[in-house]
């Protein structure tokens, strides 16, 4: 699919059953939501990044994904810096926050508002949550065979039709990206140089991608529909399976470890405040 290195199918994570991987995604998401400490949240995001790299997810893909998050991250940082005072006072009990920047009075609507250091740190914590969850997607998708994903989802009682549609959608994305690339290339081969255009003109040119792209998607999905019908696909869960989804010792060990980790995180949070905003860590 071009987004993962060829070795990714042999990475430790790719050898696991999809169920412990889904559990991993679930547990890490819960932990990311529970922890408000930017230090722990950052650590978790860093670990997710390392896991992606170890699983062969392309650096370029990660860079692009994180780059797309950048405007949202900036927005979060600014809004939390400006408007999170109440929440922070409630969580830390601090009567006053440390100002970092005060907006001049003459600025409309937010004039006089002050960006607090604590608010920005709190914003950082939200950004790390967002980064962690963004990194979990390729970690699951790129290390799991689509057929194995269907099988695993059926095992956890997701109806076959829904599991098939989900897996097919994931498989469709690389095709979509390939089409976008082919059309962009075709435009450049028609003498267009979007890089030397202004933003409005460039947007107008890119908007024209839609015509061949939508047409291509319609044709492909209709063709796929005909192919599936011809292969007796009806979406019924009443079917047999070539492969069996069995949990191996490694899968069970990961499930146990995840359960223990979740319990430990929750106990540490509620009992000792570890992971709380303004807590010991």
């Amino acid at each position: 699919m071009g987004l993962v290195k060829p070795g990714s199918r042999t990475s430790p994570l790719s050898r696991l059953d999809v169920r412990p991987k889904l559990a991993l995604v679930g547990v890490v998401t819960v932990i990311a939501f529970v922890w408000e400490s930017p230090l722990l949240g950052g650590g978790l995001a860093f670990l997710a990044l390392l896991a992606c790299l170890a699983s062969g997810v392309r650096l370029g893909y990660l860079r692009n994904s994180l780059f797309l998050l950048l405007p949202f991250a900036l927005l979060i940082l600014i809004t939390q810096g400006l408007f999170a005072d109440e929440v922070i006072r409630m969580r830390t009990g601090q009567p006053t926050l440390t100002p970092w920047l005060t907006v001049p009075e003459r600025v409309w609507w937010i004039g006089g508002a002050s960006m607090s250091v604590e608010g920005m740190v709190y914003g950082l914590n939200i950004i790390f949550k967002m980064v962690t969850m963004t990194l979990l997607v390729p970690l699951l998708v790129f290390t799991t065979d689509a057929d194995a994903m269907v099988l695993g989802m059926v095992k956890i009682r997701i109806p076959y039709k829904i599991a098939f549609v989900l897996a097919s959608t994931l498989r469709f994305f690389p095709l979509l990206f390939a089409d976008i690339q082919a059309i962009t290339e075709a435009q450049r081969l028609r003498g267009l140089a979007p890089e030397s255009m202004g933003p409005v003109k460039r947007a107008r040119v890119y908007a024209r991608l839609a015509v061949p792209l939508i047409l291509g998607v319609i044709v492909k999905s209709q063709m796929l529909d005909v192919v599936l019908q011809s292969k007796a696909f009806s979406g019924s869960s009443h079917r047999t399976y070539l492969h069996e989804s069995r949990l191996r010792p490694g899968d069970v060990a990961l499930l146990v470890a995840l359960a223990l980790a979740l319990v430990a995180v929750l106990i540490l949070y509620w009992r000792f405040g570890i992971g709380r905003f303004g807590g010991p860590i």
């Binding site: 075709a186 028609r190 061949p212 192919v227 019908q229 079917r239 399976y241």
Partner: protein, 614 residues
């Protein structure tokens, strides 16, 4: 039509016993499928896609479907498995039964037990991530037990000679292997009928041969009934028992290949093509040679040509005829327009795609770039276009290193017509499409208008300037793209597989365009597998294989270098193979390396063999 009798052991088939025994005996059972006065109109269409079709498909036969684009071949294929009309809707008249089941009364999933379909595009029809899962998918849907699925996978892979690929991801297979996988997936269903809709149109010649040979073997050894729609006339003549000819939704002829393909006049009226061997002898007959029966298969033609040449030697040497192939190649005294120097390129995580390519292309040439899939043709052209930058070596356009030029700047000098013209169409009218790039290149309104008029006129599109480009037939869509490229006045135009997926008329229309452009002085580069279509348009052939240039020669020399062509999975056109038979008899000194059916027919007619008038 050959009639088989007796029982054939079907390679240890795991199919239900009743089904297997039915496969092997022909004639003793009712037909596999019967179409009785079937007519069909797609939704919102007032023109029937099928019109009053009555056809019996006999058990154990290989039935070929031929016809120009839009004749109804695909619709007929889909009517056999119930997709038409159950999936598409529309209006269906008459009755279609397969294995005794009415296609209207039984759901597609039920009919899928009896009719398996292989589609044109090897990419779209593969839905699983491993070979074994691909074969298993339909069996799982039909609730076949796991042990049985395993048995059928092993059997089906053996039958199409893909053993050992069970765990491989399908995208790592070649085009021919992917289609054989699709056939294996179908075969595993133990169907009564295997339907193949243009399964070889995207394949190179050897991939095409592989698919035909596999299907024929299954038909011969297992007695599997086959219906195949295809434009591949040579292979159809070789392998089919009967041919049904469709035109505008109607069956206009059904008969053995010898009968259908020997009638060149009728085929021409329908814009169809006979195998070159049949065309050659029909032309020779037209020149007075007495041929009792027009051969439609290569070996029959070779035998006849050998007999004629042995019995009736040439009275004088035959020089090469006038024509584009006889034009001298531009001399090396002129500076090359495009120059490639020791070009290497390796794709990320892939093998080395180009291994030290060095060649020169001169202004005004018509060059073919040929070679098997993966030979490096597209990679080389992407370097011309600036889409790829050399890892090592240089590409020079009129002496300028292309690394110093932007893609958009190169595009004004080298036009590119993609295999799928739809990827290059973005606008709501033909006129806007042709002027699209010009508006962004700073042309004034008046200049845009004048240039667009000129390009539309050159491509014969003035009458459709206000129509949506995507509403035009595929051949015209390609012309729209060519017109848009012409508007930028490039010196070089590259056609990437322009005839793939086209019927004979469509292919000829695009080649006519390329010929016109060449006559206007443009340099033409065509990437193609269809050597038989190019013999009277091109001058020079660059044969590529495994990232290297294997041969760079005038077309007469290249087409006769069958060892080099074979090393990159290409086969010379039948006319060249017939010519080689004549060369074996007459010697090369006395006979020019012939290329086309007309040239070979000319020599056959001169052998002094029996004549109509004697």
């Amino acid at each position: 039509m050959s009639v088989r009798s007796g029982q054939v052991t079907p390679l240890g088939s795991p199919c239900p016993a009743g089904r297997v025994s039915e496969w092997s005996v022909q004639g003793a059972h009712p037909p596999v499928a019967v179409l009785d006065r079937v007519s069909y109109l797609y939704p919102h269409s007032d023109r029937p896609a099928l019109s009053n079709i009555s056809l019996e498909i006999r058990r154990g036969e290989f039935l070929g479907l031929i016809g120009p684009t839009g004749a109804g071949k695909t619709t007929l294929c889909l009517a056999l498995n119930g997709v038409v009309p159950q999936f598409y809707g529309g209006r269906f008249f008459g009755r279609a039964t397969v294995a005794g089941l009415d296609s209207l009364d039984h759901p597609i999933s039920r009919l899928a037990r009896h009719v398996a379909v292989v589609f044109e595009d090897p990419e779209t029809q593969i839905t699983a991530t491993s070979v074994e899962n691909e074969i298993a998918f339909a069996l799982e849907n039909l609730c076949v037990p796991r042990d049985e699925i395993l048995r059928r996978i092993a059997w089906a892979l053996e039958a199409v000679r893909l053993e050992g690929t069970e765990k491989r991801p399908p995208h790592t297979l070649s085009g021919g292997e992917k289609q054989r996988l699709a056939i294996a997936s179908s075969l595993a269903l133990c169907p009564d009928l295997l339907v193949l809709d243009e399964p070889t149109s995207q394949l190179d010649p050897v991939g095409t041969q592989e698919v035909f040979a596999t299907v024929r073997e299954l038909n011969r050894t297992l007695g599997l009934t086959v219906v195949m729609a295809s434009h591949a006339a040579e292979e159809m003549a070789e392998f089919a028992d009967r041919i049904a000819v469709l035109d505008r939704g109607e069956i206009v002829q059904v008969g053995p290949p010898d009968e259908v393909y020997a009638d060149g006049v009728r085929l021409a009226q329908l814009h169809l093509r006979a195998p070159q061997v049949a065309e050659t002898f029909a032309l020779a007959r037209g020149k007075g040679l007495s041929v009792p029966r027009i051969p439609v298969r290569l070996q029959e033609g070779i035998a006849l040509a050998r007999d004629l040449s042995m019995q009736h030697p040439l009275d004088q040497p035959v020089a090469c005829p006038e024509g584009i192939a006889g034009h001298p190649l531009p001399g090396t005294d002129k500076a090359p327009l495009l120059s490639v120097r020791d070009l290497h390129y390796t794709y990320r995580d892939g093998p080395e795609a180009l291994k030290g390519i060095t060649l020169d292309l001169y202004a005004g040439e018509y060059v073919l770039l040929v070679g098997q899939n993966g030979a490096g043709k597209s990679t080389l052209v992407k370097h011309f276009l600036g889409l790829l930058r050399p890892a090592q070596g240089q590409v020079l356009l009129a002496g300028t290193d292309t690394r110093t030029l932007k893609v958009s700047a190169l595009a004004r000098r080298i036009g590119y017509v993609a295999q799928n013209p739809d990827h290059q169409i973005f606008n709501a009218t033909v006129e806007e499409e042709v002027g699209f790039a010009l508006r962004h290149l700073g042309f004034s309104k008046r200049q845009v208008r004048a240039t667009v008029d000129e390009s539309l006129d050159a491509m014969g599109l003035s009458d459709v300037r206000d129509r949506h480009p995507l509403a035009l037939p595929r051949g015209d869509r390609a012309r729209v793209v060519v017109a848009a490229i012409l508007a930028m006045a490039p010196e070089v135009i590259v056609f990437d597989e322009p005839t793939t997926g086209q019927d004979y008329r469509g292919a000829q229309a695009i080649l006519d365009v390329s010929r016109q452009l060449h006559e206007q002085g443009k340099t033409i580069i065509v990437i193609t597998h269809h050597l038989y279509l190019m013999a009277d348009v091109a001058q020079r052939v660059i044969v590529m294989g495994a990232g290297r240039v294997l041969l760079d020669a005038p077309i007469r020399e290249a087409y006769h270098a069958d060892d080099v062509l074979a090393s990159t999975r290409l086969t010379p056109p039948q006319a060249v193979l017939l010519a080689k038979t004549l060369h074996a008899s007459f010697g090369m000194d006395d006979l020019c390396p012939l290329l086309t059916p007309a040239e070979v027919a000319g020599v056959l007619a001169r052998t002094g063999g029996p004549r109509w008038d004697s």
